[in-house]
């Protein structure tokens, strides 16, 4: 290539580069929609590490079935309350029944009369 032609071409090339650089390329709505659709479709799924479930038996299994250690406190309290009611309350229960029914009520586990007439 002749030197003057070469300079001409290189000048032209530099202007061509400048022209190309000056071009504005703005993505349109349609392209943006395509790109976002791809991004959503390719979104990595979070894979949680598998939690091993081991079978349990014996006391641990029994406790787990009840709901674990925290439940045990409530259970113990309910048991003690039942015991206390059973031992301490019969007298007061009588008073309570009298006030509700308006008369003295005696509740005996061993009746004085002989319902079956066994004593002649």
């Amino acid at each position: 290539m002749r030197e003057d032609v070469k300079v001409q071409v290189e000048d032209a090339l530099d202007r061509l580069f400048a022209e190309a650089r000056a071009e504005q390329h703005v993505p349109g709505d349609d392209l943006m929609a395509r790109l976002m659709a791809d991004a959503t479709r390719s979104a990595p799924m979070r894979v949680l590490p598998a939690v091993a479930v081991k079978p349990v038996g014996g006391l641990t299994g029994f406790l787990a079935a009840l709901g674990g250690w925290p439940v045990l406190g409530g259970l113990a309290m309910a048991t003690l309350a039942g015991l206390w009611i059973g031992i301490a309350l019969p007298d007061r229960l009588n008073d309570f029944a009298a006030s509700v029914l308006g008369e003295q009520v005696t509740v005996s586990l061993f009746p004085d009369d002989d319902p079956f007439g066994l004593e002649g």
């Binding site: 070469k6 071409v9 976002m36 991004a39 990595p44």
Partner: protein, 204 residues
């Protein structure tokens, strides 16, 4: 020919310790299920990818396809992305450059001069056509060059990047970049010298 589109290139070649890679952080957020990060990345990166592709290919529709393909690849490497090894912008320049030379290669095999539409005589349209014809001629000339030269010339003169950044993108030394761009520009000038008249630069 050596390819350089490994999704996760060697740390030494691409790491640029200057500055935090915000786009890398967004990519990690995307990998962790943040779709807002994907929107932000798309807004930031798509004009860059589209511009680079459009300048190399001089074809809007092809440039849009390249942009879509490049971002799709980005979403796919997201789960393996390691912050600090490569900058997203560097990675994207590389992928777009490779996708473009792939398309230029196909164009070369089809034949360069098959599209010849009669020009619309209105002055504004003619002006537009001439510019498009010139830019298309530049793109076709890139298609006629060795691919590495074409990529180096495009990154240097169409993207306006500096040699160190081009070196990181192409995974070569800055000396190799200088050599490639110098040879590339000579090759390009030689190809375009034969088409000077149609480039509208006769008054030069």
């Amino acid at each position: 020919m050596k390819r350089f589109d490994d999704p996760l290139p060697a740390a030494s070649a691409l790491s640029q310790p200057d500055g935090f890679d915000e786009e890398g952080a967004l990519l990690l957020a995307y990998a962790n299920g943040d779709t807002q990060a994907a929107r932000e990345l798309t807004t930031r990166l798509s004009p860059k990818a589209l511009g680079q592709a459009a300048r190399m290919l001089a074809d809007r529709s092809e440039a849009e396809d390249v942009t879509q393909e490049a971002l799709l690849r980005l979403w796919r490497v997201a789960p393996e992305w390691r912050q600090g090894e490569a900058r997203v912008s560097t990675w994207l320049y590389r992928v777009v450059a490779n996708l473009c030379t792939d398309r230029l290669r196909k164009r070369r095999s089809v034949g360069l001069d098959q599209v010849a539409e009669p020009p619309d005589p209105r002055p504004s349209v003619l002006e537009q056509m001439q510019r498009e014809t010139r830019l298309r001629a530049l793109s076709d000339a890139l298609a006629g060059m060795p691919e590495r030269q074409a990529q180096a010339v495009a990154l240097r003169h169409l993207e306006g990047l500096g040699n160190p950044e081009i070196a990181a993108i192409m995974d070569i030394s800055t000396e190799a970049v200088e050599s490639l761009t110098a040879r590339g520009k000579r090759t390009l000038a030689a190809i375009l010298a034969g088409r000077k008249a149609e480039l509208g630069f006769d008054d030069a």
